[in-house]
Structure formats: structure tokens, C-alpha cells
């Protein structure tokens, strides 16, 4: 099993350009998440999905869009990149996300380092 994979690993964009980050998991997990990590800010949740065809906003959703057309994939899009979106982006997945459910441990991908000039 590959676990959670992310594509690409690194990317440099110019302000105003668009791009899509791809996250894939092969663990048949229902829940998937996109985070950004900035120095001194910890992890901040951008968007998440509780199942195929569903998405929901997290803590910092502005400037990002997501789609979950297939259970195993979760895409994060930047329509018009800004320097403030320079960050490391992590995708994660879990079997469930609900309180009272079984282990909701999240498994993380290796990250995408994005620089917007």
C-alpha cells in the first residue's frame, strides 16, 4: 500500500497563475483533508470531505476550491495564486471523522511545498 500520496512535491507559481494539487489514498478511507502549514502557525485546515462527492470548509478556505469526484482522490485548486498562499500543503485521510466512531487517526501525505512569487 502506498498510503497517502501527493502530487507534485514542489511547485513555483507566479501571482495569478492557477494550479491543482492532487491527493490520492489507497486505504479506502471515507474522510480526506487538506491542511496548510506555515512557520509558527501549526496546521490549519483548508477544506475536508466526508465522502465521495462531498466537501466542506475548514478554518482557512478562502482562495481554494476542492473536489472529491472519486473516493480515493481529493483535489485542491488555487484559481489565482497569491504570495500569501506560499506554504507547505498536506493531505490526510482517515477511516472516519465522527466522534464515537472507531479510530479516527489521520494518515498524512508527504506534503507539497508551494512558492508563489
Amino acid at each position: 500500500n502506498a498510503g497517502v500520496t501527493q502530487t507534485p512535491k514542489f511547485r513555483v507559481l507566479k501571482t495569478g497563475q492557477s494550479m491543482t494539487l492532487l491527493c490520492a489514498q489507497d486505504m479506502n478511507h471515507e474522510y480526506m483533508y487538506w491542511y496548510r502549514q506555515d512557520p509558527g502557525m501549526g496546521l490549519r485546515l483548508i477544506h475536508y470531505s466526508v465522502g465521495e462527492g462531498t466537501t466542506a470548509k475548514g478554518e482557512v478556505p478562502d482562495g481554494y476550491n476542492v473536489s472529491r469526484l472519486k473516493k480515493q482522490n481529493f483535489l485542491l485548486g488555487l484559481e489565482s495564486a497569491a504570495p500569501s498562499q506560499t506554504s507547505v500543503y498536506f493531505c490526510a485521510s482517515s477511516y472516519s471523522g465522527l466522534a464515537g466512531g472507531i479510530n479516527n487517526e489521520q494518515f498524512f501525505g508527504p506534503g507539497t511545498r508551494l512558492t508563489v512569487l
Binding site: G42, L45, Y48, V50, A92, L98, A99, N103, P110
Partner: protein, 109 residues
Amino acid sequence: ELKVEQNPLFLSMQEGKNYTIYCNYSTTSDRLYWYRQDPGKSLESLFVLLSNGAVKQEGRLMASLDTKARLSTLHITAAVHDLSATYFCAGQGAQKLVFGQGTRLTINP
């Protein structure tokens, strides 16, 4: 809404010493997770604490959960340099985990 706070945020210690990282959370969370992150790397799951009084140990690390006090601790025994990393705790929120700010641990020879 669940909030999770860790302290200290930075910790520098000598090899061979013991120390504890604290993770407090604001509302009921019946489970608690600990992760480790090495510089430039992803997050790796360390412990999953599923009930009040749960204690788990792996090598020099031991994690515990007290749901009544809304407190989890990560205890480091006889620290070694290889344990230098950032440690995150996370509580169970609605449909997602809520992460603490992280504790950057540096262990000096």
C-alpha cells in the same frame, strides 16, 4: 467548539533528562492523538488514546489521557537526540481532528 492548546511550544533539553509536554483541550473529546513531525517531513502517528485513563508507551515516549481533566501528556524519559522533532496533539472535533500548535523539542548532547 473544541480548542487544543499545547505547552510548552518550545522545549530545549539535555540528553538523559526527563520532561513532559502537556495538551489541554476545551470541550469533551473522548480520544486524543499524538503525532511527530521531523523538519521538512510529514506527520507520523505516534499514539492513539481512545479512552479515559489510557496509557501507551513506545520506547522513551509515554502518552496518557485524562478526559475528566481534559488533559493529555507526552512524557519523555532519558531523552536522546533522535527524539528532536515537533510533536502535535489532536483532539476529536466534529467530523475532524483539531490540532494543537505543536511543541518543538530540541535535545542537546
